[in-house]
Amino acid sequence: MTAQTPQSPQSPGGGLLAATDLHKSYGATPALAGASFVIRAGEVVAVMGPSGSGKSTLLHCLAGIVQPDSGGIHYAGRDLALLSDAERSALRRTDFGFVFQFGQLVPELTCAENVALPLRLIGTPRREAEATAAEWLARLEVADVRHHRPGQISGGQGQRVAVARALVNNPRVLFADEPTGALDSLNGERVMELLVAAARDTGTAVVLVTHESRVAAYSDREVVVRDGRARDMAGAV
């Protein structure tokens, strides 16, 4: 688990992942109205804003999960709009990691199997995948629950397992949508500490969607989304 130093082509604007003038509506309701965003390798960016402002839509668009109506998203020099579903899936397997408010763990698998899942999907042999998963679980301080199913552990433990799963592939970008939203403050802080520390160790960029300032405090930079537009609080965008 060594830090990455990405050397791949950069997106327009110099970032690893950049979005320009994104528009996205759900029916007649605009969710994004010209949002732009950029994140550099290894950077932790908090996307803030009130409920319904379009934070999550922005994150989903950046991750290639949701297709914007217009605007461009470039990741490492590749236009996400031009990628097929299989190529975007491959990106999620190899380059992206996800932590959502509710862990999105597979309830049928044990925690260790959940963490090993991304590795298994890229063809890592089971034993090797499980060994790596065990390392990550230990690092996230949840080694003791590795044989438990997600339904048998607490919310805080579940989020740590989710973080371990998101980082086990050494992704270049981690998308975290309200990762502490369902946790109490103590657990939330611990999860954030572990998440950010692990991401910094591996050189993973983090797009952190939150509406809590104490969570955003872990970031290098803050972007505020309001009325579907993103505004960089450092003036970068």
Binding site: G27, S51, G52, I65, L91, V106, E108, L117
Partner: protein, 502 residues
Amino acid sequence: MSTLRVWARDLGMGARFALAGGRSGWARTALTAVGVALGVVVLALAASVPSALEARAQRVEAREPVWAMDDSGPGPDTFLTAGGATEYRGEEIGGLVLQPEAGAATTAAPPPGLDAFPGPGEMVVSPALAELLDSADGRLLAERLDHERVGVIGDDGLDGPGDLYYYLGSDALAGEASRATGFGNPTFGEPLTAAMALLVLVICVGLLMPVAVFIGTAARFGGERRDRRLAALRLVGADMAMTRRIAAGESLAGSLLGLLLGVPLFLAARQYLGTLRVADLSAYPGDIVPEAGLILLVLLVVPAAALTVTLFALRGVTVEPLGVVRHAEGRPRRLVWRVVPLLLGLLLLVPLTFRFVDADDATLTQAGVGIVLLLTGATVVLPWLVERLVGALRGGPLSWQLASPGGSSWAVARRPAPSAASPSRWRRPPPSTCSSPGSAPWRPPTPARTRAATRYRSSAWTPRERRAPGPSATWRACRASSPPWGRSGARPPASPTSRPPR
């Protein structure tokens, strides 16, 4: 990673989910297994019909006397026979009166199932006939067959365990009797009659259709949980092909379990069938053996069918990382393709009502295909019919509303007025609560309005609502009319997985 390994990994992962899927997963797997097992049993029994009939025909042939063709006269190996068949309370009692022409010194081979010819006045009966004769029901028959019973016919000499048959020894046969030189006349094999063939066909098809529906239902059981799981897999990078393979693996696990379960069930069913006698027919369990080719086909076709049902259930469903989107929601059913199998089935079956005489292969195939198409057609036309019927009724209980085109979203999104009978159930919505465009503002309940609201009057269902009933349309309208910040209103119910992210 080779394609084979990728398939093995994905199918294995699906099987893992099927076997470790918690209570609902286990229930789905168990139901699929039971459905598949029932399908296997029915098909295996159907595949055994030819061999069972063949075995029966051979048994019948084996006990038919071989008539002496030339007029060579009596010999040490000849015997006289006379028919002894009778009927008792609708049951056919087969029998043969035998008289070796060389008496006790005969060299003729005894009938199958007997060690020797019965002596004059002696009777050897089948186990079923012995049971009947010994029972109170058979008292009158016992008076009719009042001979000394000296033994029981062995299985070799009977066409089935329920066969009512006897051999009676005699020394008084003369002119009317026929001379025979042995047993085993191949010309007496009973062909499969047209009626019997059709009966078997209808039974098999009739049993298989509910089994197919059962498997289909089982495949959908716990579908919501499976959807969540597949979405989670998509999130960590599974593409659509992987997702389908994993879903197929889940179904395959249930199917394979069903195959395993089907074997003991088939053996048990075989034993049970040995105790049955239907239309004078019965079969030894040992004779009910599926044809090798047919059983191989069954073993391949049944899991494949379960797999097809699963993949069919995934048709019109897009599994995305954020959830599952069902495209078909609210779309009225179309009659065009549903009526095709029904008409084709009728087209095949109606001509047979005039000319179904021989059970030749072509006719049987036509009848079989026709029956399958007719039943399939009835199955797929019925939902359309129900939808049209309740749509035309324009009202009625909630279940009717849910069955109407787009009715599920309409009926659920439209909140009924408060009921006097259950005041705590429907509360006054907050001012920001979203409601469907056609809904009336909240007013205190009155008995009249309560009755009207709970009936879902047809006047409340405007053509516009019928055209655009989807929850997303209603929700969009709600979103558009709500303030951009701090929306607290409830969204009309829709599939949580189809909710647009915000």
